[in-house]
């Protein structure tokens, strides 16, 4: 095939290029739009339903009508009820926890990822496999009982540190950093080292600035893992003052029925915060493309 590729490619260039040039973008956009429909329809329905009186939540879904995607019977009832119950505080609590996780956890995990990705040292593979990979393969919820005993012994029940500290080190994020830092060309690091930079300086001024896409991805992972945490916060800090977003949402599922519009309203607020944070960061991808493209 390879030997035939050359003549085919060059001869095709003269006749079929205009056709291909038109067909390809259409196919690309068709696929993009199909994906968008799958992504956006559930979200639009959930958003519209959250602005709908509870008894009309399913009204236009079956049989389906376009009204299902827009809040035609607009009401703020669900949001009013949620915020009257203290949802605002839960949003504040969770936001604070998630930002703290990104900042402190980000530093902790980046240092570890840097060590695993760029250094050779004794016990490297053993430490990586037995601590990082092993803890990564165990669902944290299923090991909650001993962790609960431990944290209870620290006196951390109903405290911020009880919510925050156990989630700071994140083996998935360490693994992610390790994989990406290992790809960085050695020449960049050597140049800085020759200039006398410390390893910490190399990480901060050389590695991190050229790793923006992965930093954004890692920050997003950490933010979302704390923002969406449910089982652990419910165990550690179930009092009203310390409730987090997902715990507050779960209260809409009662024994004698679910308040659907409140459940969906809570879910929409829970989703909109990370979305608002992600969209500005989306630029880093565009920058990376145009930046390198100009070189």
């Amino acid at each position: 095939m390879t030997s035939r590729a050359r003549p085919t490619a060059s001869s095709a260039a003269s006749n079929s290029k205009p056709l291909r040039a038109r067909a390809q973008p259409i196919a690309v956009y068709a696929l993009l739009i199909l994906g968008v429909i799958i992504v956006i329809v559930p979200l639009m329905w959930a958003a519209a339903a959250s602005f709908t009186p509870n008894h009309k939540v399913f009204e236009y879904a079956y049989p389906f009508s376009w009204r299902a995607l827009f809040p035609v019977d607009f009401t703020l009832e669900a949001y009013d009820n949620l915020f009257d119950r203290g949802f605002g505080r839960a949003v504040g609590n969770t936001f604070f926890l998630a930002i703290a996780t990104v900042i402190i956890g980000g530093a902790v995990n980046a240092l570890a990822g840097f060590a695993f990705g760029r250094f050779e040292f004794r016990g490297k593979n053993a430490l990586f496999l037995t601590i990082v990979m092993l803890t990564f393969m165990v669902p944290v919820d299923l090991t909650a009982i001993p962790r609960y005993i431990l944290v209870n012994n620290f006196g951390w029940i109903n405290t911020w540190q009880g919510l925050l500290v156990p989630g700071l080190a994140n083996s998935l994020v360490i693994f992610l950093f390790r994989q990406f830092f290992a790809e960085i060309p050695q020449e960049l690091i050597d140049a800085a080292r020759v200039d006398g930079a410390t390893w910490l300086r190399v990480l901060i001024s050389i590695i991190l600035p050229i790793s923006k896409p992965v930093l954004v991805a890692a920050a997003l992972l950490m933010f979302i893992s704390q923002w969406n945490a449910f089982f652990w916060p419910l165990l550690i800090a179930p009092t009203k003052e310390m409730r987090v977003v997902q715990v507050e949402i779960s209260l809409a599922i009662g024994q004698y029925g679910t308040v659907w519009n409140e459940l969906l309203a809570g879910s929409m607020i829970a989703a909109i915060v990370p979305i608002l944070l992600v969209i500005p960061f989306q630029r880093y991808y565009v920058q990376a493309i145009t930046g390198t493209g100009l070189e």
């Binding site: 329905w45 060590a115 009982i145």
Partner: protein, 288 residues
């Protein structure tokens, strides 16, 4: 620079993360797995060493084997589907086309939605009686589908729900990897006369090796660990057709208080995941 100080630096960098992981993850894991060797006599409240009695019990339990079978089928379906789609999506949104930024933003949306919320919303969308998917099928003249209530469709519905978040999430990492490939490398290939498919398989994929290793391993593990949609939507039914091992492990330990059997299942699963991940990492190992 002093070699001795050199030697200590990586350990210093590792210290905070590894300390936290050991205290809050590794020790609780070991303590949990340790439970698999104990039985709590519910008659006396005594906790006694039982050797492999719990393992014996689960290996002779048809429900365990049924769940095992469901988990194998689920993993063999969900991982290739998610990775293929994530790779396709990443390539698609890596194109330089007008308006691509908007598409990229939209595709990031599911990542922001928690798995619990996704499960609940999709559960409502797939509702047999008043769900929107059946509403759309009705408009198209297609018969109503039971989705989560049919032995044949329930596992596929769970795969759909898991992939709605999974595909965008993993494509985010692949996209980050694609952007690390210097354009001159691809341009050189084009000058050499490689067509798009050739340059993708011969140049792009090998350069994505580390990222793909990460995504493959992380996705495999994430899908092994997932049980929230099962807990919220099917409780393992209908007729155990979605009874993934992790859900059975959760149910035994946290609802039924059978910590020994739960821990035994967890250690069996952990061993299996460890082997699979080892194989995956070996297959995608670097030449370096």
């Amino acid at each position: 620079m002093m070699p001795a100080r050199q030697q200590i630096i990586p350990y210093l960098f590792l210290l905070p993360a590894l300390f936290l992981l050991v205290v809050f993850n590794l020790m609780p894991t070991i303590a949990t797995l340790f439970e698999s060797m104990f039985v709590i006599s519910l008659r006396s409240g005594e906790r006694v060493f039982a050797g492999f009695a719990n393992y014996n019990r689960i290996f002779n339990d048809p429900i365990f084997w049924k769940s095992f079978q469901v988990t194998v089928v689920f993993s063999l379906l969900v991982n290739p589907i998610q990775i293929a789609l994530a790779l396709g999506l990443a390539v698609l949104i890596n194109q330089r086309a007008p308006g691509i930024g908007i598409f990229r933003s939209i595709y990031l949306l599911p990542i922001a939605v928690s798995l619990n919320v996704t499960a609940i919303v999709w559960g409502l969308m797939l509702d047999q009686n008043s769900g929107m998917v059946n509403g759309i099928l009705l408009q198209l003249g297609v018969a109503r589908q039971p989705f989560l209530h049919s032995v044949d469709q329930a596992l596929w519905s769970i795969i759909l729900i898991a992939s709605w978040i999974g595909v965008p999430l993993w494509s985010l990492f692949i996209l980050a990897g694609l952007q690390n490939i210097p354009p001159p490398v691809l341009e050189a290939a084009k000058i050499d006369g490689a067509n798009a498919w050739q340059s993708f398989t011969k140049i792009t994929l090998p350069l994505l090796r580390r990222v793909l290793a990460f995504v493959l391993v992380a996705d495999t593990v994430a899908n092994f660990l997932m049980f929230a949609p099962i807990l919220l939507l099917t409780s393992g039914g209908p007729q155990l057709s979605t009874n993934l091992i992790m859900y059975e492990t959760y149910r035994r330990g946290f609802l039924y208080g059978d910590l020994g059997a739960s821990a035994a299942m967890l250690s069996v699963m952990l061993l299996i995941v460890f082997i699979i991940v080892g194989i995956e990492l070996y297959a995608l190992r670097g030449r370096d």
